[in-house]
C-alpha cells in the first residue's frame, strides 16, 4: 500500500508477468507501512496530481485499516524516485559486452561516449519529468550503453539488458549515437519490454518499433524545445554520410520519403494501411521497421492536430497505452481503439484531443471501433 504513493497500481500486469514479478520483488523491502499520515497529507496537498490522488487513496485505506487494527504481512516500499544511474562502456571495437566502463562519460572527449551519455540522460529525464517513470523498468534500473561496438558496425540495438551502438562504416553510415532520437528509440525498447511486451513480429512488432520512434522523436523535440509543427519528425537524421542521398532513416510525417539512394534503395515505409507491406517472417521479422510507418504517421497527425508540444498530450496518451493498455499481441487496430479510449478519458469525450486521435488513425486508414 505504501508503494502506491510513488508507484502506480498495476497488480494485474504484475500478476501476468510472473517472471518479472520475481525480479521486482527483490528490490522491495517487506516492512509495515511506515510513511506517516502527516507526510501523506502533505503529498495529498502539494504533490503532483498523480501523487495527490494516490496519497488520498492511501490515507483512506490507512484510516480504514487503523480502525480495524489489522496487521500486514507484506507491504513493500519502492526505491526512491529520481535516483539516476547512467553508465557508458567502451566495447573497443570488439563484440564483448558491455566492455570497459568509461569514467565521467559526461566530460568525455570521445564523441560517441558523450552522445550516448547525454542521450541516455535526456531520455531518462523525459520519462521522469513528463511521464513520471523512473528509468527503463520504472524502478530506477541503471541505464547501460556500450559504444564502439564491433568493426564498422552499421547498427544500434537493445539486447534485453543494455543499449549498444556501432560506429558505422564511415562510407554510408556515421556513428549511431549521432542522433538523439536513436538513443531514445533504443531505450524505449527496454520500456516496451517491461510494459506492453509487444512481441517482435508482424503488427505487434511494428507497434514496438513505432513506440520506440515516437518516444525517440519526443526526446529530440523536447531537447530542441520544438512544437509538433516545428519538429522535423525524422528518425536518424545525420546517420547517413554525404555519399548517401537521404536526410534520415525514417520520416514519421511522410513515411517513404526519408531516402532514395542508388546503393541503399528507397525508403520502403508505407504511411497508409492500403500500402501495408506483407513480408515473410524471416524478413525484418515480418516488416517491423517497415510497417511502423503507418502508426508513426497516425501519431504525427494526432500531435499536429492537438498542437503545442507533442510530448505533453499526444505523448501522454501513447505512454498510457504502452504502459497499461497494449498487450504482447496488440494490433494496429487495438492501438487505435486504446489510444482513442485513453484520450476520451483524459481529455473528455469529443474534446479536441479525442477527435485528434480519431483523425490521426483515420488518415492512415484505420477506423476506431468502439465497444
Amino acid at each position: 500500500m505504501c508503494r502506491n504513493i510513488l508507484r502506480n497500481v498495476r497488480s494485474s500486469k504484475e500478476e501476468r508477468a510472473a517472471g518479472r514479478k520475481q525480479e521486482q520483488m527483490t528490490d522491495r523491502i517487506p516492512i509495515q507501512c511506515i510513511i506517516p499520515p502527516h507526510m501523506l497529507k502533505e503529498l495529498a496537498q502539494k504533490g503532483s496530481p498523480k501523487q495527490r490522488d494516490l496519497a488520498l487513496k492511501t490515507l483512506m485505506v490507512s484510516e480504514r485499516i487503523r480502525g480495524r487494527r489489522e496487521a500486514f504481512a507484506e507491504v513493500y516500499v519502492a526505491p526512491a524516485v529520481g535516483v539516476k544511474c547512467i553508465k557508458v562502456y567502451d566495447a573497443k571495437h570488439g563484440q564483448g559486452l558491455p566492455g570497459d566502463e568509461v569514467q565521467e562519460p559526461g566530460n568525455s572527449n570521445d564523441q560517441a561516449v558523450k552522445e550516448a551519455y547525454d542521450g541516455a540522460n535526456a531520455t531518462y529525464d523525459m520519462y521522469l519529468d513528463v511521464f513520471e517513470r523512473n528509468s527503463i523498468d520504472d524502478r530506477g534500473m541503471c541505464i547501460l550503453s556500450s559504444v564502439h561496438f564491433g568493426e564498422n558496425y552499421d547498427n544500434a540495438f537493445w539486447d534485453g539488458r543494455q543499449m549498444v551502438y556501432g560506429d558505422g562504416d564511415g562510407e554510408l553510415f556515421n556513428r549511431f549515437t549521432i542522433s538523439m532520437d536513436i538513443i531514445g528509440h533504443e531505450l524505449t525498447h527496454g520500456v516496451t519490454e517491461y510494459e506492453a511486451g509487444l512481441v517482435y513480429y508482424n503488427q505487434p512488432g511494428a507497434l514496438n518499433e513505432h513506440m520506440s520512434d515516437v518516444f525517440g522523436s519526443l526526446v529530440k523535440q523536447r531537447i530542441l524545445n520544438q512544437t509538433a509543427d516545428e519538429a522535423d519528425w525524422l528518425i536518424g537524421e545525420g546517420i547517413f554520410t554525404s555519399k548517401v542521398n537521404g536526410k534520415a532513416l525514417r520520416s514519421m510525417k511522410e513515411p517513404g520519403t526519408a531516402y532514395n539512394d542508388p546503393v541503399l534503395g528507397k525508403d520502403p515505409q508505407p504511411g497508409h494501411m492500403k500500402d501495408y507491406v506483407r513480408l515473410s517472417p524471416w524478413e525484418d521479422n515480418g516488416g517491423v521497421h517497415i510497417n511502423s510507418g503507418i502508426p508513426n504517421r497516425a501519431f504525427c497527425i494526432t500531435a499536429m492536430e492537438i498542437g503545442g508540444y507533442a510530448w505533453e498530450k499526444a505523448g501522454r496518451i501513447w505512454y498510457i497505452a504502452l504502459r497499461d493498455r497494449l498487450r504482447y499481441n496488440s494490433s494496429f487496430q487495438d492501438a487505435a481503439n486504446k489510444t482513442y479510449q485513453i484520450a476520451g478519458a483524459m481529455f473528455g469525450e469529443g474534446s479536441k484531443e479525442h477527435e485528434a486521435v480519431k483523425k490521426g488513425w483515420a488518415d492512415v486508414g484505420i477506423t476506431i471501433k468502439k465497444k
Partner: protein, 98 residues
C-alpha cells in the same frame, strides 16, 4: 558455388542483398568465399536458429548456398549467429554494397 544472401532488420530496417556465382568471380575471390563457407561448417548448421526472446533492432540474415549438388539455407539473427559464420556474413554485406 552459388550464394544468395539477404540481410534485413537492424535499426535502419534496410534490405541488403546479393547473389554470387563463384564461377564468374576472380579466382582469388572465389577461393576466399569457398574457404569461408567451409570454415563455417555451413552445411551442418541448422536451418533456423532460435529467435531471441529479448532485445530489438538486431540484423536478421538469410543465406542459401548451392555447392556440388547440395543446397542449404540458414536463417539466423545477430546475437545468435555463430562466430564461425560471421566473417562470411561480413564479406557478403561488402559484396552487396559494391
Amino acid at each position: 558455388m552459388l550464394i544468395q544472401f539477404v540481410r534485413t532488420g537492424g535499426f535502419a530496417g534496410l534490405r541488403t542483398a546479393v547473389t554470387l556465382d563463384t564461377d564468374t568471380l576472380p579466382p582469388e575471390e572465389a577461393r576466399k568465399l569457398l574457404e569461408m563457407v567451409d570454415a563455417s561448417g555451413f552445411f551442418n548448421l541448422p536451418e533456423k536458429f532460435p529467435v531471441p526472446t529479448r532485445g530489438a533492432d538486431y540484423f536478421v540474415y538469410r543465406l542459401t548456398v548451392e555447392k556440388e549438388g547440395r543446397k542449404h539455407t540458414v536463417e539466423v539473427s545477430d546475437p545468435v549467429a555463430p562466430a564461425a559464420l560471421r566473417p562470411l556474413l561480413q564479406s557478403l554485406v561488402a559484396y552487396a554494397r559494391k
